[in-house]
């Protein structure tokens, strides 16, 4: 699906590349991770207790609906994390946790 969000302003910032579930996506400098992903996708993750998808809810760090993961296993709150170039993000926790020498 195409993105859920629509840019209404501030669209002339420099582009920033990152990956989400392996796909290369592009956001803008100053985007939150949530904004950047939802410009290209409809959701951030699958709900773990129901059939629906989730795309954040409060956007102020209170509801914790927008948790996603970095490829090293670290969890982040997409609404309050600023996008960084080269971020490798995924909608679910890594199924194999890094251990031993692989640990971050």
């Amino acid at each position: 699906m195409t993105g859920r969000l629509v840019r209404l302003a501030e669209a002339s910032r420099p582009k920033v590349s990152f990956t989400f579930d392996g796909a290369v996506l592009t956001g803008l400098e100053g985007d939150s991770v949530l904004t950047a992903i939802l410009m290209s996708r409809g959701a951030l993750r699958q709900a773990e207790f129901g059939p629906e998808q989730r795309s954040g809810f409060c956007l102020m760090g209170a509801c914790q609906d927008c948790w996603i993961w970095q490829s090293d296993g670290a969890r982040l709150r997409a609404c309050s994390t600023q996008l960084q170039a080269g971020m490798r993000l995924q909608s679910a926790a890594p199924d194999k946790w890094p251990v031993g020498d692989d640990a971050p």
């Binding site: 859920r4 209404l8 501030e10 904004t35 129901g50 409060c58 760090g61 969890r75």
Partner: protein, 457 residues
Amino acid sequence: MTRVLIVGAGPAGIRAAQRLVTAGLHPVVVDEGARAGGQIYRRPPEGFTRPPQTLYGSEADKALELHRCFDRMLDAGQLTYHPRSSVLALGAQGAQVLGPDGVDTLAYDKLILATGATDRLAPVPGWQSAGVYSLGATQIALKSQGVALGRRMVLAGSGPLLTLVASQLRKAGAQVVAVLDTAPLTTQAAGAFGMALARPRVTLRGAALRAGLGRSYHAGVTLTRIAMNSTGPVAIHWQDARGRDHMTPCDMVGLGWHLRAETHLADLAGVSMAWDKVFHQWLPLTDAMGRAAAGVYLAGDGMRILGADGAELAGKIAASACLQDLGVPAPDTERDLKELRRMQRFASAMQRAFPWPAQMVRDLPADTVLCRCEAISVGDLRTTLSLSGPEANRAKSLSRVGMGRCQGRYCQLAGAEVLAAEAGVPVDKIGRLRSQPPVRPAPISAYLDKGPDARAK
């Protein structure tokens, strides 16, 4: 020097800091935002270019003045500032703070809590879907990111934010196809009189924004359900004031009924709470100046939902109380207290105008998701009553409503309403969820030793 910790850098926290700095103290300010300002005067990230008039409308001068006030103190080294940081717990050693580099303990002698508020939510069948957001979220997305959260948006709920966000989105070029207010025109008329008496200009400004919404605005609405497919909302079903059914296609729904004071830290600090009939929620008990417990002061929407102007006043007043208790000469607060009482009259009338939709919540179908975090239904909670009795904490233990990631912030009031209806008791008799530390989820890694090489490969 006396250590004063201020939690929150919105209007209340910034004004409290200013008064302490003026008196010669050096406060420590912890705030979750990346830049000070709070939510309503939230600042976009560096590099964004929309002027304050576009971001804050009629409140642009106030927002700018507040931001400058904070930046001046920061640049002059008059306070210590911890942005992107959350207070997780309060204990004998101080406040446990989660920041970008992990968890630290900040000791303090006096604590000023200016923790603000979040949206007050009522469940609507289908609200668990991606693409359903709070009204506050809808405004934050526009203000701090310049985005609309959908292509065909419906805003629903009640309270001042409903009209304001709809107007701001329209002005910015978003498509808002319907604004559905659950407050009937009768209560709105009754409340508007008191609002106009207390703050005529603000009331007129609200009425003008409302008029600008034209025929997309509907009062006295009952929200029936949000229809969704696998990717998000496709329509909202609702009944108008005369009971006729409507269906409005949309791909986004924004929901909110005023605000709910963020009181978790006040609770951990030992502040007493009481059910407030006017604001229809549990609120901390304080004296007129915000004294709430030994060495603990409250200010802003985390104490009473009075909005940004009230929060600035309350911040100054709480700081004066703190200075008085330290034996430091403090500015007189008589005029500010009088102004604050006017804000209180306005806010009370506004609550009458745009009430909590108690009946709608009581009538929710059993399969409605009540707890968004863990998909616990209204029916699940009703079934719990025979085991738990009509008490919020026991019902939480048995049903898990209030135990998920949001820690009850978005389900507590609706859950109490459902239990009260089922048990046939007033909603305040259900009690309130005890706050549990950490009041924000914290990763285990944040507690690991932060020695220079501890986290290196």
